[in-house]
């Protein structure tokens, strides 16, 4: 009996058309709700993507160190910034001798896109009256570029350090008052000051790096620290940043002598903040949907009362109870659909306006999945809210209506 559905549709259409203003108002109401959800989601998703990009974009997603080197100091030094997890404690860590093997193992994993063996240590730089603590970072620059893109971030001097020369961060250069070609003096614990030359200055866009990093060749760093052909850590970047923790855990169980720490572990606070931001956005969405439900339900309830005479005569003429219910459910679906589509357009318009007004500081991100979730939850709400009025009106007894008519 699909034919009766045809009549149910035309009944729903005529009922909606009859009171155009009412229909328009409720569609507008739903549309505003959807627009708010679209805009809010775009804003929060954009902010979060931005934050995550800033956190993990030019940073290792997983840091591999020797398991025995885990010290209390390592935990203390981590304060929510990725760059700081490869901090002063590095000097206390037992170096990794079999890093060639590890590089091969990690490179074979499709989920990992970059592997960087690094030799790290801390030291002091003196120039005149100024003393600054630095993080000595020794790695192969070509490989490091795959994570940090240092070569393209050099703003002054050479892109690659040559013998006894280093690249330093922009802020450190300002603090020390040096430019490329200037000599500096590096003091490592228990060693005599060593004369080095600043070959280039980079800007990685993260002040913690720009203030503290001293980049040199891996072998030279290893020689300075006296660890031979060993490294202190391996830094990994994975294809999907959100899988980092899972990948780290999987490898941890296979490599008991090493500790793998993902960016999620290191940035637990950030992730908690993002989660609570998301849940506040869900709360708002929930209340918007509640408003949609109440709106549609009240409009259809009024509609049902207004149409009770007509429903009564239709029932006398033999329309089935379910047909009446469906005619009202269809009204809910149609209202939801029209409201969702209008609201989606309105939401896009709002975000465009916002970008125009706020300038480029803010990123707005509209994920297809979020759009689908918003639209389908709105549709579902509108349909569900039509259910009660539909059920009530469909159970109308024609005799009552005819008698009181």
């Amino acid at each position: 009996m699909n034919n009766s559905l045809t009549f149910e549709f035309s009944l729903a259409r005529r009922f909606l058309e009859e009171n155009k203003l009412q229909t328009l108002l409720i569609v507008l109401g739903i549309a505003i709700g959807v627009a708010v959800m679209v805009f809010l989601t775009a804003l929060i998703d954009g902010l979060q993507a931005d934050l995550i990009q800033k956190t993990v974009g030019k940073a290792p997603h997983i840091v591999v160190t020797s398991a025995e080197a885990v010290s209390q100091e390592a935990v203390k030094s981590v304060d929510g910034h990725t760059v700081l997890m490869i901090d002063t404690t590095q000097k206390d860590q037992r170096p990794i001798g079999e890093y060639h093997m590890l590089v091969n193992v990690f490179s074979a994993d499709q989920r990992i896109r970059a592997v960087l063996p690094a030799v790290d240590g801390s030291g002091l730089i003196r120039r005149g009256q100024v003393t600054r603590g630095v993080l000595l970072r020794g790695f192969d620059l070509d490989q490091a570029n795959r994570i940090y893109d240092i070569s393209n971030s050099v703003i002054e001097g050479n892109r690659k350090p040559i013998n006894n020369s280093v690249l330093i961060g922009k802020d450190l250069a300002v603090d020390l008052g040096v430019s490329s070609g200037d000599p500096i003096s590096l003091e490592l614990p228990g060693q005599d000051p060593l004369a080095l030359m600043v070959d280039g200055i980079f800007d990685l866009g993260v002040s913690a790096i720009n203030q503290r990093w001293l980049v040199m060749d891996q072998r030279q760093a290893a020689a300075l620290l006296g660890i031979g052909d060993q490294v202190t850590s391996l830094e990994l970047q994975v294809q999907d940043v959100f899988l980092a923790e899972q990948i780290a855990r999987a490898w941890s169980s296979k490599l008991p002598n090493y500790q793998l720490k993902s960016w999620q572990e290191t940035n637990a606070q950030l992730l908690t903040a993002l989660k609570s931001q998301s849940s506040s956005s869900y709360t708002i969405q929930f209340f918007v949907l509640l408003a949609v439900i109440l709106g549609v339900a009240s409009v259809l309830a009024i509609n049902a009362v207004q149409k009770s005479k007509q429903i009564g005569i239709l029932k006398a003429m033999g329309i089935r109870t379910n047909s009446v219910a469906r005619a009202f459910m269809i009204q809910g679906v149609v209202l939801g659909l029209m409201g969702s589509i209008t609201g989606f357009g309105l939401g896009i318009f709002l975000t465009k306006i916002f970008i125009l007004l706020a300038g480029q500081q803010l990123t707005l991100l509209l994920k297809p999945l979020s759009v689908i979730v918003i639209l389908s939850s709105t549709m579902l709400s509108a349909t569900l809210s039509a259910y009660l009025p539909a059920r009530r009106v469909s159970q109308l007894n024609p005799i009552e209506v005819i008698r009181n008519g």
């Binding site: 005529r14 003429m317 033999g318």
Partner: protein, 245 residues
């Protein structure tokens, strides 16, 4: 000509759950196909309740209703709805047209409820019926844009669209002036004559009641008079007491 279309056997009706009030007491009635029956009685006599039961809108408390060989008690609610749609045409005191639809669409609605769309021949039939009630020129008007008398004529056309075997009319002229009353009644008579459609009409108008083939008078839930007006026509008198309330 013994061609029973509608039969009730000991039909009773009670209303109320805790305090029961019986409205019909054992109605035994046979109506022949093609008869034009009028039903009179004061309010509370049970005539509307009986009409609702005969129209499959309500179920009797006990007893049977058989229409066209179908025992209505054996049908589910949905089957009953379909049965009403196919077999019974309704005309009510308030015409109950759907103002969202045009005059022509209103005539088609009983057909559309199950068929969804009306093929050309059904549309032609609807136009014929509108023509018959003198309203084909109004076919594209909204149903609420025509006069009360015209709306009742549309309701008559609507009741006929599915070729019902019975038309039940509940005070069809109750809201009309004498000119329109006469017009509507003539239409019902001609439908009864031309299509052999069985008509059962509840009315307060004794002149109309006396112009039918048969007259039933109800009182206190019982049929107290059953007059064959073809064999024994009665004098139409405004003050006639045996038939009036």
């Amino acid at each position: 000509m013994d061609n029973v279309l509608l039969k009730t056997i000991n039909t009773t009706k009670e209303f109320g759950q805790e305090i029961k009030s019986q409205v019909l007491f054992g109605i035994n009635l046979e109506i022949q196909a093609g008869e034009f029956v009028s039903m009179i009685g004061s309010s509370g006599s049970g005539k509307s309740t009986l009409l609702n039961i005969l129209g499959a809108l309500d179920r009797p408390t006990t007893g049977k209703v058989i229409i066209d060989g179908t025992n209505l008690g054996q049908l589910s609610d949905d089957q009953l709805a379909y049965f009403r749609n196919r077999t019974i045409g309704f005309i009510f005191q308030s015409h109950f047209l759907l103002p969202q639809f045009t005059v022509l669409e209103n005539v088609l609605i009983p057909y559309l409820i199950y068929a969804g769309k009306a093929p050309t021949e059904i549309k032609a039939r609807a136009l014929d019926l509108l023509d018959r009630v003198g309203l084909s020129h109004r076919k594209d008007n909204r149903a609420n844009a025509i006069s009360g008398g015209e709306q009742q004529r549309v309701a008559i056309a609507r009741s006929l669209i599915n070729h019902p075997s019975i038309i039940l009319a509940d005070e069809p002229t109750g809201n009309l002036d004498s000119k329109n009353t006469q017009k509507v009644f003539e239409m019902l008579k001609s439908i009864n004559r031309d299509y052999q459609t069985t008509l059962i009409m509840v009315t307060h108008d004794h002149t109309l009641a006396a112009s039918c083939d048969r007259l039933l008078k109800l009182k206190d839930g019982l049929i107290i008079e059953d007059l064959d007006l073809i064999k024994q026509p009665i004098q139409i008198q405004e003050d006639r007491c045996s038939v009036s309330d």
